[in-house]
Amino acid sequence: MKRRDKDTTTVNLQVEVAGIVLKNPVMPASGTFGYGEEFAPYLDLNSLGAVVTKGLSLYPKAGNNTPRVCETVGGMLNAIGLQNVGIDQFIAHKLPFLEQFDTPVIVNFFGNTQDEYAEVAARLDALPGVAGLEMNISCPNVKHGGIVFGTDAEAAAAVVSAVRKKTTKPLIVKLTPNVTDIRQTARAAQDAGADALSLINTLTGMAVDVKTRRPRLANTIGGLSGPAIRPIAVRLVHQVVQAVDIPVIGIGGITRAMDALEFLIVGAKAVQVGTANFVDPNAMATIITDLEAFCRAEGIADINDIIGTLEL
């Protein structure tokens, strides 16, 4: 799709999500991009719509035992267990690196309790280098990694509103697909003050080693990600877009521009790329280039003209 030499019409890729202006609608999904520096040798961080950090907690977190990852058909299971350096280390050693780039930094965070969520949010609110917060109420791999809050609409509303009181920064709430009706938690988060929603986090899954008869993850159950989950994610984003008035960021199995476009067409304002970063550290740069090429080829001057154009 390289047609630059023939056609140089400019395409606007800039979008806005909850007041954050993104150069383009592509950003990494939390937990697949470390703290950004891991990918800097392979990818120009300036080219991204935003950087989304690994999920942070008030104190450093060790994570689960190994094995923590295994491949399945078209995807992978992980049960990392939210291992992270903690908010203090992040502010001291990771954030300054990200601040060098002309790219908004969205910090993903979680807490063991509602108070911890609120405290982390308050700390992040004070940092000028942080463009927005993404609160994880959906990690399937730890008891208190948010899933307790994410699977119950009332609990979700309570924790989101506690965080809302502590920050005036754009607040994105990341939802789990492991519920009967995602629209309920989506509406609850919106009503409690979320500025945007991101979905989906991983789907819970399990794989067994038939020779040892043991689970292939030390945690037994993990989160499934990768291209295998994309149709489920597109469906859920489609449903949530219909159910709420705030912007939605689409996540789930995006490996190519065509995949990202599916999410945009059903109404996502932006997308996050996750597992594909592991497969190709340059995946997001390729997706951005190809999005532009697609627009040019289709005669679309502004990517915003694609968003929410699903024909039914």
């Binding site: 937990g31 697949t32 991009f33 470390g34 891991e38 990918f39 040798p41 392979y42 690994k54 450093p60 977190k61 060790a62 994570g63 035992n65 190994t66 094995p67 923590r68 990852v69 295994c70 491949e71 058909v73 078209g74 995807g75 992978m76 992980n78 990392i80 291992q83 040892t212 292939r216 030390a218 990768g226 291209p227 490996t255 597992t275 970063n277 592991f278 497969v279 190709d280 550290p281 340059n282």
Partner: protein, 285 residues
Amino acid sequence: MKNHKTIVLSNQEIAPGYFRMRILAPDYTRLAKPGQFVMFRVQRALLPLLRRPFGIFRAGFMPADCDTMPPKEFIEIIYKVVGSGTEIMQGLHQGDPVELLGPLGTGFDTGATRGDNILVGGGIGLVPLYMLAESVAEPARTQLLIGGRSRDDVIAVTEFERLGVKTFVSTEDGSLGDAGLVTKVLEKRLESTPQATVFACGPMPMLRAVAEICRMRGVRLQVSLEELMACGVGACLGCVVKGDGHSDAQPNYLCTCKVGPVFYADDLAWEGMPAAAGGDCGETP
């Protein structure tokens, strides 16, 4: 550290189930250090999804197809067919497109190779030891102990011999060299060269035994580990091992892909080491 969209130069079965693949790899002779690895993308498709980590066997130059072209720079990897990824790999031919991310990780501390060295390789674990053997100052004072289940699992011995390294082969079934475990040979060799430094790579039970032997004798040991990993660049945190002093209260997880794959044995917590980790990249047969 770079992702190369490159091609296979050759791919040959060197022993039943073991293949050696030569891949076009610009800059690797300059960049690759002994003990480093690559994340190898088998094909430009989504099956298998993840790359596979492979230790670099060696890096070198070969003549170009015509005189006017500069020589081609390559690396070689050696792999055993164990699952979906390596099954596809064994069917690759010269010219097939693949991707190489690397060279990655922290390799052997080659500053420690002055004097007597004992290299211990279990099966496919021999692979990262070749570049180390190439790098030692005095090959004649370097011994290579190769262990395998049977003679079919003993690979590339002659190439080590060509470097002037003394080789000792042992197989569990006695079909080649001494009968028994490579760790028995190690104990014997350490009796004649007790001041040697040991470098080991192989299955976890072997590494555990080697670590115990070296600890008892106060011998310095570097081990190269294999762990399941998704990214190879320190982001997924899938490949962590417990470092020395690790506890739930004071976690000390180390990324095999970044801090390793080579560690000083003293820097690891051997009690918590998973018994059957690595080697097959989580592949389903």
